[in-house]
Amino acid sequence: MTRKSRRMMTIAGLGSILAVAVGLVLYALNDSIVFFYGPTEVIEKKIHVGARLRVGGLVKVGSVVRPSDRMVEFVIGDGNNEITIHYNGLLPDLFREGQGIVAEGRLEAGQRFAADTVLAKHDENYMPREVADSLKKQGHWQGEGKPDAKTGSKP
């Protein structure tokens, strides 16, 4: 084998592996990324039923119910619109009424959402960032998410 043909073989080999990798990445990016929306965006963007997505908002106070021993249902809102989430599983430690959460799952008809994951990851301001941004967009942002920010008293 000449030096030249050997080099061609190497390049062809490297090229094909890279091509496969690029193909995989593009395919996976098309197929397996999940968009985040607030309740209003879900309506505005006319997300079709069955789509896999993340939704987030504030858990409506008094909305948490347990229809059966494993199911949890609650409503999240951004001040203008609401989504009812039902979830079969354990709620995270930081889940509280009145605070922000993010749920991942599938959209159902009638602004209902079947979650398979509920996240309450947030910083010291008790607000997941996506939810904070979504609230800002809807004009319901109350400072840094501290309940006493409204009244103006300092923590």
């Binding site: 592996i17 990798a21 996976a28 197929d31 397996s32 993340r54 430690d93 960032r129």
Partner: protein, 657 residues
Amino acid sequence: MTVEWGHFALILALVLSLCQVALPLWGVAGRDHALMQTARGTAIGAFLFTLLAFAALTYAYVQSDFSVINVAMNSHSTKPLAYKISGVWSNHEGSMLLWVLILTLFGALVAMARQAIPLPLLAAVLMVQGAVSSAFFAFILMTSNPFLRALEVPAEGRGLNPILQDPGLAIHPPLLYIGYVGFSIAFSFAIGALIHGRIDAVWARFVRPWTLLAWSFLTLGIAMGSYWAYYELGWGGFWFWDPVENASLMPWLAGTALLHSTVVMEKRDALKVWTILLSILTFSLSLIGTFLVRSGVLTSVHTFASDPSRGKFILGILVFFIGGGLTLFAWRAHALRQGGLFAPISREAGLVLNNLMLATMAATVLIGTLYPLVLEGISGDKISVGAPFFEATMLPLFLPLALLQPLGTALSWKRADLWAAMQRLSWAFGFSVLVLCIVLYVTRGGSVLAPVGAGIGLWLVLGSLADVWLRVWRAKAGWAVNLSRLVGLPRSAWGTALAHAGLGISLIGIAATGWGTEVISTVGKGAEVPAGPYRLVLEQVITRNGPDYRETVGRFQVYSDQQKLGVIEPGKRIFIGQTMPKTEAGLMTIGLGQIYASLGDFQADGTVSLRLYWKPLVVLIWGGALVMAFGGFLSLLDRRSRIAAPRKARQLQGDAA
């Protein structure tokens, strides 16, 4: 006063680091050996002063000196001593201080190593180390100073984040940082080689032990972090493809590639330019990892707004070193003498394939981690790239790599006989396929991926054993001779075999997650819940006080048939100074499997929601990583890669002969 001394020591460390850049630079430019020599002293001095600064901060934590803002924010006087100490690096400022402490430690170790590195190269290496540490000292002093005092001294600290109060946190960051930062040595050596325009097999011999050390610690750090997330978060998973986890996986993948490419360079004096590039890229990924984690940019681009100075500062450091390194590479790489080409079927060709796959995997993780950031920056859409993306892209790259690995080790250097190598491994391969078929039959109807993963894992383990066997066993020699050959096998050969076997062991453990069971239910006193072949009975719910927390636990008795195996107590803890409860998982290890229970909310009627897993062979995931890291450390003990121990007379004779 101690705190002020610490602050002062940190400033002195910055000054020494700047000297560590300027004096050797002057020396290299003017070929002045005396000036080059100063690199050693300044490197060691910078380390000692950083150590002093770190000790001062630790002292403030141990004394619960709440006049220091950093201590007040992250500690509490009731914390056990161990968590007061680990609290030092539980926060941004302290962990950056740990980062530079390890960075300067590595610089000092290189300065003291008995590696016979030519002085001009050593001076250049320490100069680059000094530049990196100067940048981070400046970062700490200007944007994240842990020594700032509060004007009003609070009576009590705010407490450590409860999720971080755990033995896992105490050792996870130091392990991880030794890994991240250790790769800086390879980076500095690469820049040194580019500055001098010379590189040869000896260069690879200098770099390899440092890379090996960093890689072994990074492996431990990642495994530790994974186990910590597994039992601490209460979600039962061991890897979530979280950006913070990816940040540690990228340098690991690139570092693994680097380990293999330095072998080619050492043995065949080839792949030089690629190895230099890989050295730069590996540390660049470490820096990107630090940037992603430390700047808070990950959750959203908008985090920049909350503390723009920090993010921008690290971004500046990132651009300077990565951009500078790559520019220097583009400018100087042609000056390095190219290595020879090699045959397509040979050990070195196999290692090239390994490098290509690992580098592609690292790039894929990078794309998946950064894509949400880029997309949000461009279109404002918020997306999450999670496990489905990484599983779809990483498995097709990783499984062929694992499948080919034992074959690669069986090939000889220069020109290999593929058919002969396959014949030598036929027993290991045949047995793995047989086990795969049996497992497929037994678990028919279930996932196919789990048996395939376990089969490939077994093949990796058996392939490594076969490698040792083929190196040692000579049929004509007697048992005694073969045994002494086994004992006399170089430690690096053992290290290689163990590292590859460890990967196989982890793979089996990961595959076995497909055979676990998960039950979610609401239980009251006396309720019985199945967990795989076992069952659990809730005996009672207990509320009690710990050293600095109050907890409510469910006491479950574990049964195998009628036999009592023991008790597990998953629960919820509320730490003093905190309001949020924290889930504590209950774990019981049975053989290589684990029963994993975590509790949800306690209901008004006295019942509690429970998530219960049976995870067969799960211990192998982390066990395999330990074996891998042990392999790395064993290779370090090989006399070829000694960095600290003085040479023995016998070796010197051997080298001379």
